[in-house]
């Protein structure tokens, strides 16, 4: 099974685990990406997530489907939260299940890397000094168009 959702309410860890569970699985892995108080040395008070929602949902569903194709007999549920998040709140929850743990770890890792690579979601960090900034994880310099 696989599923993917964008949500605005807090991510329920136990519900994700229940959703991905089935009697054929021996290992379940839940990854949570959470808002931390420091990023690149700057004090963070919260993060605002936004998305190109239709495309982000489509990409999340594609990743979940590709994951269960790559890892036969697996389960994958991906949930990404949008809106204003406080410290310690989860922005993303990825629950995966497989018969064996080797595959569960590989699967979980594959999903989070794909998500970070291609899903059109953006975050603006709010800093302790009151400023806000869009985050570019690759730290690409903003080039001037010709």
């Amino acid at each position: 099974m696989n599923a993917a959702r964008l949500v605005r309410d807090p991510i329920d860890a136990a519900a994700l685990v229940r959703e991905v569970s089935a009697p054929s699985y021996g290992a379940i892995l839940l990854f949570l990406g959470v808002v931390r108080e420091v990023n690149d040395g700057r004090g963070v008070t919260g993060i605002e997530y936004s998305a190109y929602e239709a495309m982000a949902h489509r990409e999340l569903e594609a990743i979940a489907a590709e994951a269960t194709d790559r890892f036969v007999s697996s389960g994958v549920v991906i949930v990404h939260r949008l809106g204003e998040l406080a410290l310690e709140e989860a922005s993303v929850g990825i629950a995966v299940a497989h018969g064996h743990r080797d595959e569960a770890y590989a699967l979980s890792r594959w999903v989070i890397e794909e998500l970070k690579r291609r899903v059109p979601i953006w975050k603006r960090e709010h800093y302790v000094d009151g400023t806000r900034e869009w985050v570019d994880p690759a730290n690409r310099l903003v080039e001037v168009s010709p």
């Binding site: 979601i121 975050k123 010709p146």
Partner: protein, 80 residues
């Protein structure tokens, strides 16, 4: 023809709007869309070749654009 180009996050801030309308010649491509965007105020804050999605899929600069297509500029993604 005229198409609507969706803008998000830092790109929407740079151009001061969540979307812009772009006039295109027939048989236009993504490159024509980018050329139009590059002439607008605030576009100097965008990279030379921003990622583009056509109908919710990443597209090449050579991808053809038709009336009614859903076109979007995609800033560097930061999900997770």
């Amino acid at each position: 023809m005229s198409v609507t180009v969706l803008l998000f996050a830092s790109y929407a801030d740079a151009l001061g709007a969540p979307s812009v309308s772009v006039d295109l010649p027939p048989e236009a491509t993504v490159a024509d869309v980018l050329a139009d965007i590059a002439r607008r105020p605030g576009a100097q804050l965008l990279p030379a070749r921003p990622l583009v999605a056509v109908n919710q899929r990443y597209a090449a600069t050579t991808t053809r654009v038709s009336a009614g297509d859903e076109i979007a500029l995609i800033p560097p993604v930061a999900g997770g």
